[in-house]
């Protein structure tokens, strides 16, 4: 291979990390004083003293030429596993008397000559490998190289010449559209995921920075979660708005005759709270949507799609919105799992505490001081734990511990059952009192009760659980999350049960049950917001003010992240469930999240102090995203699918009046597609023979499960390999110690 042209040698200054090659000289000892002069002669640059033993000079000479001490630092995961960077002996800085700065350790005396020849070939290899990669991969590798930006720019210029008209990174979007990845929806997920990342990174950037600076990463994760939820709702609202609301608004049917509804009611002004009145027959709720293709096109409006099928659009819009949300959630979950995955060893926490616990985000002086005090306390606790063994529990104390746990659990379960019955009977009572229809008190009581219960009971559970003794704080958090979820799930299932009963009743009364359920959910969401804001005002502002001014220590409040995140998840579940009946519900949720953000932020700045305990932000974020996906989104999706598939839509309102279930319309349309449009015949055939065919679904499910099983086996195999490699490293370490000691023994014997 020819040598690299002259000009390039100056340009290519690829260095090891640290921008200079560092040959590690072996350490000298203080004790071996008489050899010091000899050392300096052989090894002009020396670092400071050795920790463990005093080796003789001959041992040291051997040790200093060990390959791992004089080889360049190998980077990981750049092009191949152990690709060594080429270095050039350069940048002769003035040799420092104190050999502890980077400038001094510049040259590799032992291997310089041999490596010059290797440098050139490795350079060329690196460049040619980079050129072979597609643009997206190349950019990714370039960004992840541990070199300085000036070097990276040089590599980039060399690899791709001066013909570039646009940055390589923009080609990533084109890559996605070239369908190189396995499945279309994975691609869309990646693209949407990156797009959503761009949007969410920019909103509220400064505010989040301030919060992080003062309170640290843990509390920041709550606000980031909120922002993410906002993004999902905005996307859903945009999809609904473009494909459902706008056509319906431009096509709205003439207002129906008043069926005995007294509009002069003095409670009409409460329409915003109750969802009744003006809103009942608006685009807010299901009942308003027409069940035909636009027959009411007004002449005044310019956009008037003549064959826009509203019922079909309804199904497809809601379905697309759910699908997009699902893809985004799965993408976010997979990224979180990737970040929070940790290998099996659970010991070794002291070193982790030293290196990984300082939160670089925190920059206010007081918070920094607090963080330092926290870490100090935790280190002291860990030291004391190490020194005294963990006490074993005697039989008595185990029994006591168990009974306390059982007691607390039974109280919690009793409370939950009590709440369920309360909600059910209040509903029945109000219904029997006949106040359900227009009386705002009747309408708002149940949402108020539900919101109060779901806000206040978790706090009560937390106080109860203070008496319990847990092995670790994370178990405590998991247990409180489970109780919280159980409470909310049970209350919600009671509400669903009640609604199903009402649906059966309303079939006789010819009423619009979908609008009714939509209104109930709307009221629930709104009441949740109102109770949350009241809670912030009373429990945080007022109580915080009392604590600050009337206690001697001027304490502030402590933020309970788990509880607040679960509140957000609960609210979002309601929205996802209700979007089928009330397509504008995401817009309400957007307003709610905005308000919550600013209220919470203000309250936080005034009333809360930085957390005392270390909050494992990454793992908790993963848990919250998983909770958002699994019980929350999947649960809502199941309910929506059940409603669309099994429950007969009401026959007097809404777009599905004439169908037995909503999905039938979709089936009809696809099956009929072949007739109306011959070129799409294949689609309807595919639907009839594949999607509608149970055999195909079985095969598909079977394949899917097989793939999951294969991946699980792969993971198990990899864990096994990791364990074995760990053992191997330990053994190598033992061997090394043994050999060094033997070498030293030999040298000492020879010296005598």
């Amino acid at each position: 291979m020819e040598t690299i042209p002259d000009g390039y040698e100056d340009l290519i200054e690829l260095e090891a990390v640290g921008r200079s090659h560092r040959a590690v000289r072996f350490d000298l000892t203080d004790g071996d004083g008489e050899d010091l002069e000899a050392q300096r002669h052989h090894e002009p640059e020396h670092t400071h003293s050795l920790q463990r033993n005093s080796w003789s000079s001959s041992t040291q000479r051997v040790l200093s030429s060990m390959p791992s001490r004089s080889i360049r630092w190998n980077q990981t995961a750049v092009l191949s596993q152990n690709q060594s960077r080429c270095t050039k002996p350069r940048r002769r800085r003035a040799p420092n008397a104190v050999a502890t700065t980077s400038g001094a350790a510049n040259r590799d005396v032992f291997t310089e000559r041999e490596d010059c020849a290797n440098d050139v070939t490795q350079n060329e290899e690196l460049l040619s490998k980079l050129q072979d990669l597609p643009a997206g991969e190349c950019v990714r590798l370039l960004r992840e190289m541990p070199l300085s930006v000036s070097e990276k720019r040089q590599i980039r210029a060399l690899c791709f010449g001066w013909e570039l008209e646009q940055p390589l990174s923009e080609n990533r979007v084109l890559c996605c559209h070239q369908f190189q990845a396995c499945f279309l929806k994975v691609l869309c997920g990646c693209w949407l995921g990156r797009l959503s990342q761009q949007i969410s990174i920019q909103l509220w950037q400064k505010v989040l920075k301030n919060i992080g600076a003062r309170f640290g990463t843990g509390i920041l994760s709550y606000f980031i979660f909120l922002r993410r939820l906002l993004l999902y709702n905005i996307l859903f609202f945009l999809i609904n708005g473009l494909f459902l609301l706008l056509p319906q608004i431009s096509n709205s049917p003439p207002p129906p005759k008043d069926n005995g509804m007294n509009t002069k009611d003095e409670n009409a002004y409460l329409w915003m709270l109750t969802g009744k009145g003006v809103l009942t027959n608006s685009v807010m709720f299901y009942g308003h949507y027409t069940n035909s293709t636009s027959g009411h096109c007004q002449d005044k409006t310019k956009t008037c799609p003549h064959n826009y099928n509203i019922p079909l659009a309804y199904i497809f819009t809601i379905g697309t919105g759910m699908f997009v949300t699902c893809v985004l959630l799965v993408y976010r979950m997979s990224k979180s799992f990737g970040k929070s995955f940790c290998t099996l060893k659970t010991t070794g926490n002291l070193a982790l505490k030293v290196f990984c616990s300082w939160d670089f985000n925190v920059c206010r002086k007081r918070s920094v001081k607090l963080q330092a005090v926290n870490i100090c306390t935790q280190l002291k606790e860990m030291l004391s734990e190490l020194s005294c063994r963990k006490k074993k529990r005697s039989l008595c104390s185990t029994l006591g511990w168990l009974s306390v746990h059982l007691l607390v659990w039974s109280i919690c379960l009793l409370c939950i059952v009590g709440c369920m019955m309360a909600v059910y009977y209040i509903h029945r009572y109000i219904e029997q009192g006949g106040r359900m229809e227009n009386d705002p008190e009747g309408l708002l009581t149940v949402p108020l009760v539900v919101s109060c219960l779901s806000h206040l009971l978790p706090g009560f559970f937390n106080k109860l659980s203070r008496g319990e003794d847990y092995n670790s704080p994370s178990v405590h958090i998991y247990v409180s999350i489970v109780r919280n979820l159980l409470l909310k799930g049970c209350i919600f299932s009671v509400l669903c049960y009640y609604w199903l009963q009402r649906i059966d009743d309303s079939k006789k009364d010819h009423k619009c049950w979908e609008t009714f359920v939509g209104q109930e959910l709307y009221r629930l969401v709104l009441m949740d917001l109102i109770v949350a804001m009241l809670h912030i005002i009373v429990a945080e502002f007022l109580w915080g003010m009392c604590l600050r001014n009337f206690t001697l220590r001027r304490r502030k409040l402590e933020f309970d992240i788990a509880r607040d995140v679960l509140e957000l998840i609960y609210g979002q579940t309601l929205v996802w469930f209700g979007v089928l009946f009330s397509p504008l519900l995401p817009a309400v949720q957007i307003v709610k999240l905005f308000l919550l953000f600013y209220f919470k932020k203000t309250s936080m700045m005034q009333n809360f102090h930085a957390p005392r305990k270390h909050w494992r932000a990454t793992q908790m974020s993963t848990l919250f995203v998983s909770l958002l996906f699994l019980p929350s989104f999947i649960g809502a999706l199941m309910c929506v699918i059940y409603t669309m598939w099994r429950i007969k839509p009401s026959s007097h309102c809404g777009p599905f009046r004439s169908f037995d279930n909503m999905l039938l319309l979709g089936e009809q349309w696809i099956s009929g597609l072949g007739n109306s449009n011959p070129s799409l015949d294949w689609l309807s055939k595919a639907y009839i023979h594949l999607v509608d065919n149970p055999l195909f679904l079985f095969i598909f499910a079977g394949l899917f499960l097989t793939i999951i099983y294969i991946h699980m086996q792969l993971l198990d195999g990899q864990k096994l390999i990791i364990g074995r490699l760990q053992e191997q490293i330990d053994h190598e370490g033992e061997d090394k110690k043994f050999l060094i000691a033997k070498l030293q023994a030999l040298n000492e014997a020879r010296a005598q």
Binding site: R19, R93, R143, R156, A351, A372, I375
Partner: protein
């Protein structure tokens, strides 16, 4: 792009975008921050890639770094001369590695450099002692410091030379999922 800016050529901005985790807008914003650290030193026109370096003392006065106990080491690790004088390239590099999007391996490499106070490619006991003192603002007693250092090295050192090489450090970091979120400075 919208406004016609004259700070960088388009080609330079593209290069920055491909070599760091920032977008064009963020690079321009970073340039603004770099400029306000030393307005008399830093030119507004960077089209010729001027060789301007801001000294350490000015960089560590940034609000994001001011209270950080490792500020000097952070800046030194990203400087080419090892003394903490950052050119704009180094400045962008520093915040790019410390940004949200940098992967774990890259952050681990630079975290190792930061904690390696004597720059000998190993985190030895003295490095660890200095790290601890800065973390806890010298609240621990000397005996406790020694004990923590010994225990930490014992836990993390895999090849038995009583120092932490990069492999040991990276292996330890892989067990800390929080590392990615804590080793992050928002700019």
């Amino acid at each position: 792009m919208g406004n016609k800016q004259t700070i960088f050529t388009d080609e330079q901005l593209d290069a920055y975008q491909d070599c760091t985790f920032f977008t064009r807008k963020e690079i321009l914003r970073l340039h603004g921050r770099y400029h306000e650290l030393a307005p008399h030193l830093v030119p507004m026109d960077y089209t010729n890639d001027p060789d301007v370096k801001i000294p350490l003392a000015l960089i560590v006065n940034m609000p994001e770094l001011k209270e950080n106990p490792f500020r000097n080491r952070i800046v030194e690790s990203f400087s080419e001369d090892g003394l903490g004088n950052l050119s704009f390239n180094d400045f962008v590099d520093m915040f790019s590695v410390l940004s949200e999007m940098a992967p774990r391996e890259l952050k681990a490499i630079y975290a190792f450099k930061i904690y390696d106070f004597n720059v000998d490619n190993y985190i030895c006991k003295e490095d660890l002692e200095q790290t601890l003192n800065r973390l806890t603002k010298e609240e621990l007693t000397p005996e406790e410091v020694v004990l923590v250092c010994e225990k930490a090295i014992e836990e993390a050192d895999l090849d038995g030379d009583s120092k932490l090489s990069f492999a040991d450090f990276e292996n330890m970091i892989s067990r800390a999922p929080d590392f990615l979120s804590t080793f992050h400075i928002r700019i």
